[in-house]
Structure formats: structure tokens, C-alpha cells
């Protein structure tokens, strides 16, 4: 096999690679992440690179324009290496893996902790449910009586007897590893030891026996493993205090932006391993930073609870997700036993435990269970809805008597993928927009007040609503003619939100008619899924008491504008509660209380999964929602546009 040298610029990183490998895969081997929304199919056009020296062969495609071809621009996923190369990777083709800044994080988590509550004062979330404090990993300091002729039970039974004085555990299990060193440990340290117990249902396991009293040093982690973002939180298990929260992009994005592309990638040689490594690397990085910043010894981090959609959990545990994609859409497992974190290659205490929040079905995962748990809708007397606005758009409807869930394949548009100037909600993303009705000039604000780099989900909601209001688009999303900001593009007309001179980038930030079409389909999918779910039970939106909006945009969401574009139903604005990352909040409750885990398991059996695709009314409902705000205007009585 011929080998060649490929140098990536401006990184100036050189790697040796085989002939006919694509530039994309060479870049991944070199540790450089290039945007690849379509997972290397040559469709998304996000992986453009410039080959400044050397030979490549590229399959023809409709994305590279004639002038780009002249300048040696190629799609990294289609260009195969034929000789020594120099490849320039422009910033616009790179995945930005910088950690979120503290301000962004504060914004992103605002629904949970502080800021959003200023704007939306409802504190409905944790109001009436208190789980007993009984963390997933519990540390107990024991001073055992030395054995005598009259008290001659074995060391292990002695230990069990002492443990049962704290709590009546019906079943206690201990690994041989711990039993082997028990005799020496007890005698060397004067019968004073700290035992770490891992809890699950009515069984406890002795995870670790340490000399002396370390019971004050007991920490745990909870994680929300999203398709786009992974968030982790370090918690003091004894005091319930949250020490820190961090979020990073899921590095699996390099292999495709939605779960289906990733499932397909997992089927390739080494694909599953690559995906697993991407998620475990991201988590380990977050863990490392959290413990360093908060001065916690990794050996005192004893457990971790993960919440994520079914595919993400499969990939975390290195399980083949192939059957999730194929009819009848069956997962390998929805309920997973507690495992050693090390088995999933997650670095905490080497004997530490890892638990996953149980999921309902292949398309309604543990993140939804955690959301139901933390939003508390399962305790309400009156019907409520929980919507997680993300790529898979999970929706749960119900109260204390019933819960039904469905997944709306909303697509990644509101997460900034598949749209021309789209980006995730990170620094420089335009998130608030207002448009002057006279001259169409645009005012916007960006996350962390950085120079604008693109538009994130909440920015798109604002933008669409403002464009409707200003009459720039009609209710079907077509852009009108006229004005210096409107021009023809390859994807229909486009509206310039921010000229490149202002943005400081090399491209104008725009929204075109095909972007609007994508966004319209996304919002239509979510609205119609919610509508059909409620209708399926013979009810309508008017019976809904509270509308919990979770995840997705992460930061700021203008409910009024989301209603104007028909993403959310036209209900009294005070019924909407933006709860931020409900999946992470649910995982934390489980981390801190075995009761919460019991509840999560009960919830899973209580939640009925409703498959939208089998409902004959869904397509009709969906096509009606492909209009701003909706084809049936009587469903949106308060929405009026003056434009």
C-alpha cells in the first residue's frame, strides 16, 4: 500500500496516510475535526478544503462551483489522496470544539438555575416532589468491634452486621476483590474502615473498602449526553451541592449530525468504536476539567448517572445500535444494569459505578424519562406537556394518571444544522433579532456578545417571526423582492441578516428560501406531533395546564415569537415554562436519590409510546402545519401580522 504525507494548514500538522483515503478521514486521524453534517456522503457541503499542493481525485458533485474548482476547493469527504498533499482547512469548515464560556454556560443552563427565572418567574419544576436523600454511591464509616471467642462471626458477616445497623439492606453483594483484602485491611487499620455502597433498588453492592474515615469525600457526576451537546455536572453526594457544570460538543458530530447517520456510521468498520471513543473522550475531558477546577480527587468520584437518547446510550456502552433504525425499531436494551464506569471507558474511581436512566423505546430515551422526572409532570392533577426541542423532538403528554410520549423527527434545523448560516448555540451565534419594518435593517444580539458567526435555533425563531412581521416573507415562507438585503441565490431568494464586513467573517450571514423550508418542516413536525398526540386521546390543547419546553435552544427562547411562527400552540403565554436542560436535572435527581431511580423505572412502565407514523392523521396534520403559523388560522387566534 502506497503511503503519502498529508500536511494540514494552518495547523501545520503532518500525518502519513494511505493512498485513496479521503481527506476527511485523514483529518480525523490527525485529530482535526471537520464539519460533516451528512457523515461523509458529499451532500451537506460543509467540509470544503483547499488543496494547495498535490494530487487528489474527487467524485463530481453539485456543491463545488466552477470558480471554487479553479481555486482547488474540494469536499474533504469526496477527495481521495493520490500523493503528498498540503491541505488548507478554512475556519468555516472546522468544528468548533472550544468549551462553552462561563457566560454561555450560565445562559444555557439559565432555565435550571437562575437567569431565565427572572424573565419567567414560574418555579413549577421542583415544587412538590422531594426524593429522600440516598445517593447512588453512599459512603459509611464503620468502627467494627474486634472479634472475640464469644463474638466469632466472620469478617464479612461482621461488616454486613455493622452495615445493617445503618439501614436494613435485604441483599448485600460484595465482589471477590474486596473480600480478598478484607481480612488484612480490617486488622491493619484497627477495624476502622469506610465502605462505599452502590445502590440499586433493594440491592446494595460493596464497591470499595478503604482504610480510615473518608466518608466526607464522596462525589458523583451526572451527564446529559445529547446528540449535539454533552453536559456534565459534578455533585457533592453528601451535601447535594452542585460544584460545577460543563458542556462540550459531542465529538460524534464529525460522523454526522443526526442519530440515523451515526447509526449508519456505526455499521462501518471501526465505526462503532470511533463513535464510542468520541463520546467517552468528550465525557472524560469534561470530568477532568471539573475535578481539577474543584480540587476533587478522581478516586473520590464514585459514581456517574447518564441520561441520553437510546442511540447515544448504545454508543456510550459500545453496543451496536443498528436495529434502532430498522423496523420494528427495537433497541438492544432500554433498561441497563449498573456497570463499572471503567467498562464504558469512563475515568472515575476505578471501581466506580455507572448507571443509565432507563428509556421507553428506541426513539424515546432516558433523556425523556429524566425530563418527565425533573419537570414533575407525572405528579400533576391536570394535563401538562413536555417538549424537548431537539433533533428528535420528544414530546410527553399527561399527568399523574397517564403519560404518553412520541418522537417527532424534527431534524436538526433548530440546532443550526442543514441551514446555510446555521450554527449551534455557542459564542457568536445570533440569538435575538429585530427587523425594522421600513428599511429592513436588522438589529441582533449574539451569545457572549461576540462577533456574529452564524444563527442558532432561537435566532431563527426570532428571525422568522420578524421577517413575517416586516412582510419580508409571506406565510408560506417565500421571500419578497426588493431592498438591498434581498437577492437571488442558488437556493431561491435570500435575505442578508448580517453583511460580512460587519460580521468580520468571509461570508454574509443569510437565510434563504430553502433554509426557511427546512425550518418550516422542523416547526411543523414538532407542532403536529404535539397536536396529534393530544388529539389521539380525544383532547385538544385547551386542556393543557402547563407547557414545559426543554433542551434544544438551551439559552433564550421567545415564547411569543415561537407561537407566531407556529412552533408552539397559541395558548396563554403564562402556560409556557422554559425549563432548560431537564435531562441533566433528572439525571442529578437520580444521582442523589435511589428513590428517584425507582421512580424513573416506574415512569418508564407508565409512559405509553405512541408511534406517529402509524397514525393516519399525521401526514394531514403535518401538511397543515407547513405554513406560518398554520393553515388553519383559527388555531392561532392571537397571531396577527401587521406587515
Amino acid at each position: 500500500m502506497q503511503k503519502f504525507k498529508v500536511t494540514f494548514l494552518p495547523d501545520n500538522l503532518t500525518i502519513i496516510t494511505e493512498k485513496d483515503k479521503t481527506i476527511l478521514s485523514a483529518a480525523i486521524s490527525a485529530g482535526i475535526y471537520i464539519n460533516s453534517t451528512c457523515g461523509g456522503d458529499g451532500i451537506c457541503g460543509k467540509c470544503k478544503v483547499v488543496v494547495s499542493k498535490g494530487d487528489v481525485i474527487s467524485q463530481p458533485n453539485g456543491i463545488i462551483t466552477a470558480s471554487e474548482r479553479k481555486n482547488n476547493v474540494y469536499l474533504a469527504c469526496l477527495a481521495s489522496i493520490q500523493g503528498d498533499l498540503e491541505v488548507v482547512i478554512p475556519d468555516s469548515s472546522r468544528l468548533n470544539f472550544d468549551k462553552l464560556t462561563p457566560e454561555e454556560l450560565a445562559e444555557r443552563l439559565s432555565g435550571l438555575y437562575s437567569k431565565a427565572e427572572d424573565i419567567r418567574p414560574q418555579k413549577a419544576k421542583f415544587e412538590d416532589k422531594v426524593f429522600k436523600h440516598s445517593p447512588f454511591a453512599t459512603k459509611l464509616y464503620l468502627e467494627l468491634p474486634e472479634p472475640t471467642l464469644s463474638d466469632s462471626i466472620s469478617d464479612l458477616e461482621r461488616l454486613y452486621r455493622a452495615l445493617r445497623k445503618f439501614e436494613e439492606f435485604p441483599v448485600i453483594q460484595t465482589g471477590l476483590f474486596n473480600i480478598r483484602q478484607l481480612g488484612r485491611l480490617l486488622r491493619d487499620y484497627e477495624w476502622k474502615v469506610t465502605v462505599t455502597l452502590g445502590k440499586r433498588n433493594n440491592t446494595v453492592e460493596i464497591v470499595l473498602i478503604e482504610p480510615g474515615d473518608t466518608s466526607q469525600k464522596n462525589f458523583g457526576l451526572c451527564f446529559d449526553i445529547g446528540t449535539t451537546t454533552i453536559s456534565g455536572q459534578l455533585v457533592n453526594l453528601n451535601s447535594k451541592k452542585i460544584l460545577g457544570t460543563k458542556a462540550a460538543y459531542n465529538q460524534q458530530a464529525a460522523f454526522g449530525s443526526d442519530v440515523i447517520t451515526r447509526i449508519l456510521h456505526a455499521a462501518k468498520t471501526e465505526g462503532l468504536k470511533q463513535l464510542h471513543n468520541a463520546v467517552s473522550d468528550t465525557m472524560n475531558q469534561i470530568i477532568k476539567e471539573l475535578i481539577l477546577e474543584h480540587n476533587v480527587d478522581l478516586n473520590n468520584v464514585n459514581c456517574i448517572v447518564c441520561s441520553g437518547n437510546t442511540t447515544m446510550i448504545h454508543l456510550l456502552l459500545n453496543m451496536d445500535p443498528a436495529h434502532i433504525r430498522k423496523e420494528p425499531y427495537v433497541a438492544t436494551a432500554n433498561f441497563l444494569p449498573v456497570i463499572r464506569a471503567a467498562e464504558a471507558e469512563i475515568n472515575i474511581n476505578s471501581r466506580g459505578l455507572l448507571s443509565c436512566v432507563p428509556g421507553v423505546s428506541s426513539y424515546v430515551g432516558g433523556d425523556t424519562t429524566a425530563g418527565v422526572l425533573s419537570s414533575g409532570i407525572y405528579q400533576k392533577d391536570v394535563p401538562c406537556i413536555l417538549i424537548d426541542i431537539g433533533t428528535n423532538g420528544e414530546i410527553v403528554f399527561g399527568n399523574k394518571d397517564f403519560l404518553v410520549a412520541c418522537a417527532a423527527s424534527a431534524g436538526p434545523a433548530f440546532e443550526g444544522s442543514g441551514v446555510t448560516s446555521g450554527m449551534r448555540a455557542s459564542s457568536g451565534a445570533i440569538q435575538k433579532v429585530s427587523i425594522n419594518k421600513g428599511d429592513f435593517s436588522v438589529k441582533y444580539s449574539t451569545i457572549a456578545d461576540k462577533k456574529p458567526r452564524g444563527i442558532c435555533g432561537s435566532g431563527y425563531i426570532d428571525l422568522l417571526s420578524e421577517m413575517l412581521e416586516a412582510g419580508i416573507i409571506d406565510k408560506s415562507g417565500k421571500i419578497k423582492v426588493g431592498g438591498s438585503r434581498i437577492r437571488q441565490s442558488d437556493s431561491g431568494r435570500e435575505f442578508v441578516v448580517c453583511f460580512k464586513e460587519e460580521a468580520g467573517g468571509n461570508r454574509d450571514i443569510v437565510i434563504n428560501e430553502s433554509d426557511i423550508e427546512n425550518l418550516k418542516r422542523s416547526k411543523g413536525a414538532i407542532y403536529s406531533a404535539a397536536s396529534i398526540l393530544v388529539k389521539h386521546l380525544g383532547l385538544d390543547f385547551s386542556v393543557i395546564h402547563k407547557f414545559y419546553i426543554a433542551g434544544g435552544f438551551g439559552t433564550y427562547l421567545d415564547v411569543d415569537k415561537a407561537i407566531k411562527i407556529g412552533l408552539l400552540p397559541d395558548l396563554e403565554r403564562s402556560k409556557f415554562v422554559f425549563i432548560g436542560n431537564s435531562s441533566l436535572a433528572g439525571a442529578r435527581e437520580i444521582l442523589l436519590s435511589a428513590q428517584a431511580m425507582d421512580m424513573a423505572e416506574k415512569l418508564v412502565s407508565k409512559i405509553t409510546y405512541f408511534e406517529l407514523s402509524v397514525d393516519p392523521g399525521y401526514m394531514e396534520e403535518y401538511s397543515q402545519a407547513l405554513f406560518f403559523p398554520h393553515t388553519d388560522l383559527t388555531k392561532f387566534p392571537t397571531v396577527k401580522f401587521n406587515g
Partner: protein
């Protein structure tokens, strides 16, 4: 024993569209024709008011037709080659109450007539015949956006129906209809949601729902007629139930669909029946205005309408 009929009462009604302005209304037409206005399902006279019979417009072109079967052309004789004489023959010989003029000659592939020429044709047609007009473009969006404003202006105050506005191209036509006092055909691809969306978009431009006539797009007998039938039925049920955005009269382009079929092309007798059956079926679905081609088919359908509207009513 007498059977008691169960009668449905509807809260809504289809809006009435007047076609053609007489002298006292500022136009030059000999009469003004009303369509629509129903407050009941087709032919269920006891359930509501059905004030207007379905009307038939003869289809004429501004050039000699290029894709009509020979025997269909023969029905109009020599005059088919002179559009004004053809129109005249429809009115004077076949007693057409309405004409539907298609500006096919403006299409880039069929003569590519300019704006001035197209507008002049309409002016001359208006002085040659005095029946109310429906005027539709050439089916080329770009070209229609050029000629239709001029064509519409040439017929200003004549209260025509102009068309056809579609979802991706409705603004120019809607603006012309608004400016020149015409009604507008809103054409949707056998899709009730798009029909409704298009009506809303047009009304957002300031043209009232009462001035919109819906073309649901139809298929001829054996070529999807039942799809059109059920879409029309659904739209009409919605209109009668009170949905104003769908409460518009229907126009159906019967001739162009029927004469495309191989059955119609294979024998003229069969073609006439094919056109007539397509028309009479869609009358039962609620068609208010039918655009047809063969004089004999039109005669049959007119007779059918007479029978439907004069038999003792249930």
C-alpha cells in the same frame, strides 16, 4: 307513509362571484353572470340556498390551438385559425355565455408574443364580443408575470376573472386583479391545504376571499377524477362548516384535461362524451364554473344542468 328527510343545516356559505361589468357598472359587457353563493352541498336544494346554476365558459386561445385533436378543431371550422372570429363564433353560433381566453401565444415556445401584442388582443376581443371573460396566462410563470399586468389593465373595469395564481407565483396576478377590479383564480395541485394556504396568501395581499375562485386542479374521467372530486368535496364541506378561507367558488378546466386522454383522442364521439361526463361528475362535486372545449359536449352538459335544476326537488 311519507319519509321524513334528515336535513343538514350549514353555518357557512360559498361566496358569490360576479363576472362581467355592464355599462352602468363601468364596463362594456352585455350581462353580468353570478356563480357560487351556495349554502348547501351540490343539488341538495332543501338544505340551503343554491342561487346560481353552474356555468360553462368556452375555451378560446389567442392563437390557433397547437395540441388539440384535429376533430376537435374541426368543430369550429375555419374560424379556429382566427382567434377573434373563433370567439365570435362561440358567442354567436354556439350561444356561449362566457369565454375563457388562454394567452397561449405569449408562451416562449408558442409564439412568444409580447406584452403590447397580448394587451391589444384583449382590447380587440373585448370590442368583438360582449360576454364576460375569464383570462388566463400561458403557463409560463416568468412570461405571465410580464404580460398579465398589461392584459389585466386592458380589461380594466370589465370585472373579469384572471389567472392562474399558484403558491410560488401569485403576487403579480393578485396585484393586477386588485388594481383592475378583477377576480383571481387560485390554482392548487389537488391539495386542500395548499388551496387554503394560497387563499390566505392572496387575501394577505388585500384581495378579499370573495374575489377568489379556486381551481382545485382536476383529472379527467379515468385519470384521477375521483381525487379531484374528494378534494372538492372536502373543501366544500369546510366552507359550509364556516371556514371562510375555503368558501370560494370552483372553476374546473374540464376541456384541457378531457382532451388529453387517449380515449378522447381516439374518436371524436368518445371525446365528446368523455368531456361531458367529466364535467357532469364534477358538477356533483360542486363545480361552479366549467371551462370546456367541444360545443357538443357543452350542449350536453347544459342540458344536464337544466334537468338537474328543473326536476322536482327533493
Amino acid at each position: 307513509m311519507e319519509t321524513q328527510l334528515v336535513l343538514e343545516k350549514w353555518p357557512g356559505a360559498v361566496s358569490t362571484v360576479s363576472i362581467g361589468a355592464k355599462k352602468e357598472e363601468g364596463g362594456t359587457r352585455s350581462c353580468s353572470i353570478k356563480i357560487g353563493g351556495e349554502s348547501a352541498l351540490p343539488l341538495l336544494f332543501k338544505e340551503g340556498s343554491i342561487p346560481n346554476k353552474p356555468k360553462i365558459a368556452f375555451e378560446v386561445w389567442d392563437i390557433a390551438p397547437c395540441d388539440w385533436p384535429e376533430e376537435l378543431l374541426a368543430a369550429y371550422g375555419e374560424e379556429i385559425n382566427d382567434p377573434l372570429a373563433w370567439a365570435d363564433k362561440c358567442v354567436n353560433k354556439y350561444k356561449a355565455e362566457l369565454l375563457c381566453v388562454k394567452m397561449q401565444g405569449a408562451h416562449p415556445d408558442f409564439g412568444n408574443k409580447g406584452t403590447g401584442e397580448s394587451a391589444k388582443f384583449i382590447s380587440r376581443l373585448l370590442s368583438r364580443v360582449n360576454v364576460p371573460l375569464v383570462i388566463i396566462g400561458s403557463d409560463d410563470d416568468t412570461k405571465d408575470n410580464l404580460i398579465m399586468p398589461a392584459v389585466s389593465e386592458a380589461a380594466k373595469k370589465e370585472r373579469c376573472i384572471i389567472g392562474c395564481a399558484v403558491q410560488d407565483n401569485y403576487k403579480t396576478l393578485a396585484a393586477s386583479a386588485l388594481a383592475d377590479g378583477h377576480s383571481l383564480i387560485a390554482q392548487s395541485p389537488i391539495d386542500i391545504n395548499i388551496a387554503k394556504q394560497l387563499n390566505i396568501l392572496i387575501s394577505d395581499m388585500g384581495l378579499a376571499f370573495e374575489r377568489i375562485v379556486m381551481d382545485p386542479t382536476i383529472g379527467a374521467l379515468g385519470y384521477g377524477l375521483e381525487y379531484a372530486y374528494s378534494i372538492m368535496e372536502r373543501a366544500r364541506l369546510a366552507a359550509l362548516s364556516g371556514d371562510k378561507t375555503l368558501a370560494c367558488a370552483f372553476i374546473c378546466f374540464i376541456g384541457q384535461e378531457a382532451w388529453k386522454t387517449k380515449e378522447a383522442k381516439s374518436s371524436i364521439e368518445q371525446g365528446i362524451v368523455w368531456e361531458a361526463v367529466t364535467a357532469s361528475s364534477l358538477i356533483q362535486a360542486g363545480a361552479d364554473l366549467l371551462v370546456m372545449r367541444h360545443p357538443k359536449a357543452i350542449e350536453k352538459v347544459n342540458n344536464f344542468i337544466e334537468i338537474l335544476y328543473s326536476t322536482p326537488r327533493l
